[in-house]
Subunit: 340 residues, 2 copies
């Protein structure tokens, strides 16, 4: 890979700011002789030319990345943000974190605002499948990568888990424990991730020849209060599922909250399996069974690929194939699922 | 209060961007006649003058606030960030969220970066008491408010809970349940919040004439793994406390994790009380007893006061008294504390 040329490295090596590098190259007169020498020496040592650096400055990078997440109070997003921020800092990038609360208008505003702040690239976690604004970014070759989201677009870059397979694994896990009356807290269909989980869930039911009671399915928004209210109502019915597959650990916490408030014992009276494997799921006191996303690996891949995309752009290289990575899911069986 | 004059309101009313307002006022020639009329009409209707708006544009606000937090995976911070972002958006401010991982160098970098992006003001959650950079901001009259942090400085603005009283309430709660061997997961002393909790804790012990075993106290960093390892080791000792006061709910989760992994039953073998009242504490499945910070109220007060401070600055008003608000703490007794 061709080394990216940038004034940032020069500034860092010379121990000065990027603006100082710029002043030296523009022969600004009030600059100390020794500073000038330091900068020119750094350029030489890095095997750049004066012209290359001047050109890179004209198209200056901000070394800043935008990270847009759907809900920062969902530990899957906050833990991902923490990993992404740490790796970004190791690569000398700053991260601007934006929280949309799963609101599309807010997503559009943040994209505009980040572009206004001239970020070098954006990672978007929680994109709905038909989002026009994101399609535009891909059309414009703006450096963007989707994280735990997919958009069907031939230039779309994304890193995601295999949601279809993950949902199938959840059903398999419940089936093997003897469960036949499976309920499903799905969330809204407008995300490709939830859409693929839905297809995986249905295909597994067909595979095991199980029937789904439509009253056992939640397809409303990812709101704690709504999931809590739905679950409470469901568990008060005479006919109720023996287990629930919940499409995110965050929603699974709402389900456990509702079940406990109804004095329903977990897992003897209700088994619950989530999706994501937030760190709380592995907490021995809680022990939430779940379908794991390889979060740290996904975060690293998203960031490292974005860096490649940004460097390609900054070197005016023609972009090649999009980055489209799908990783395997895995079931972690803990305290909240048990034999029927 | 004098109404703040700004081009943003004009832009919004006219349905154009702030740059368009600027172009109109600078008699830019390639502007549509109807656009120009819309802008001038908006200025008139808002009872501003052309000059006022032109002046406000010269000192243009970005309508952006920086929010720096110590650890975004700590639900106290992510939940606060969510509330602050929502209220900010209601007031037409964007929020740039920065996660320092309790790293001072990172805090300094973020402050510089936010100033570089010309934010109108900054909210800092998780400031160590001796931070020079933050003192500088107050010296420079830059609009800053500390959230759940205190710095002793005559111009410091902050909104915090009464940490001293909160720690006393925790000890009182444990004492009334019959506990006499109290352990304390304190965290590092370098924050004024933890410092005040320490003083409150000690004063309550003195009040109840209790002795503290120094082996029962953790004063290392706010790191999950470290708190987990300390607790596991502590609980394996022949002499161990009957209860733990933990200075944050995030650390209390690590304590519960460690205790459960040692097959220690909560609360019959160990009572645990946290601090913060993150939403998970109120989850019926978890039921963490805790000392509550009035988080929503604190978030609202921090943001609303910051807006007043920013408007004062933008109108070149001389700043008056600093904002120094301390709110009462409250104990929530749930499943993790029981009678000795």
């Amino acid at each position: 890979m061709k080394k990216s040329i940038n004034a940032y490295d020069v500034a860092k090596k010379a121990g000065v700011s990027q603006s100082t590098v710029s002043r030296v190259l523009n022969d600004y007169q009030f600059i100390k002789k020794e500073t000038k020498e330091k900068v020119l020496k750094a350029i030489e040592e890095l095997e750049f030319t004066r012209d290359e650096i001047a050109r890179s400055l004209a198209n200056r990078e901000t070394r800043t990345i935008g990270l847009i997440v759907g809900d920062i109070t969902n530990a899957f997003f906050s833990e991902s943000a923490k990993v992404i921020t740490r790796i970004a800092q190791e690569n000398d990038y700053n991260v601007i974190l934006c929280n949309t609360n799963h609101d599309e208008e807010s997503l559009v505003q943040y994209i505009d605002s980040l572009k206004g702040q001239r970020v070098d690239g954006i990672i978007i976690a929680g994109a709905d499948k038909d989002n026009k604004k994101i399609r535009e970014l891909f059309d414009q070759h703006f450096p963007v990568i989707l994280y735990n989201s997919i958009i069907e677009h031939d230039k779309a870059n994304y890193v995601a888990v295999n949601n279809y397979q993950g949902a199938r694994l959840a059903v398999e896990h419940l089936y093997e424990l003897g469960h036949r009356d499976i309920g499903y807290i799905a969330g809204p269909e407008k995300y490709v991730t939830t859409h693929l989980r839905n297809i995986g869930f249905e295909s597994a039911l067909t595979h095991y020849n199980l029937k789904l009671n439509p009253n056992f399915v939640y397809t409303d928004e990812f709101l704690y209060e709504k999931v809590y209210a739905f679950t409470k109502k469901l568990l008060r019915q005479p006919e109720r599922p023996s287990c629930l597959f919940v499409a995110s650990d965050q929603m699974a916490l709402a389900v456990l909250d509702a079940a406990s408030s109804e004095n329903i014992e977990i897992p003897s009276q209700l088994s619950v399996i989530g999706f994501d494997n937030i760190s709380l799921a592995g907490n021995s006191y809680i022990g939430l069974s779940t379908v794991a996303q390889p979060m740290k690996k996904m975060a690293r891949l998203a960031l490292e690929n974005l860096i490649v995309i940004m460097e390609r752009k900054s070197n005016k290289e023609v972009s090649t194939l999009p980055v489209q990575i799908v990783l395997d899911a895995e079931v972690f069986s803990r305290k909240t699922t048990g034999v029927r």
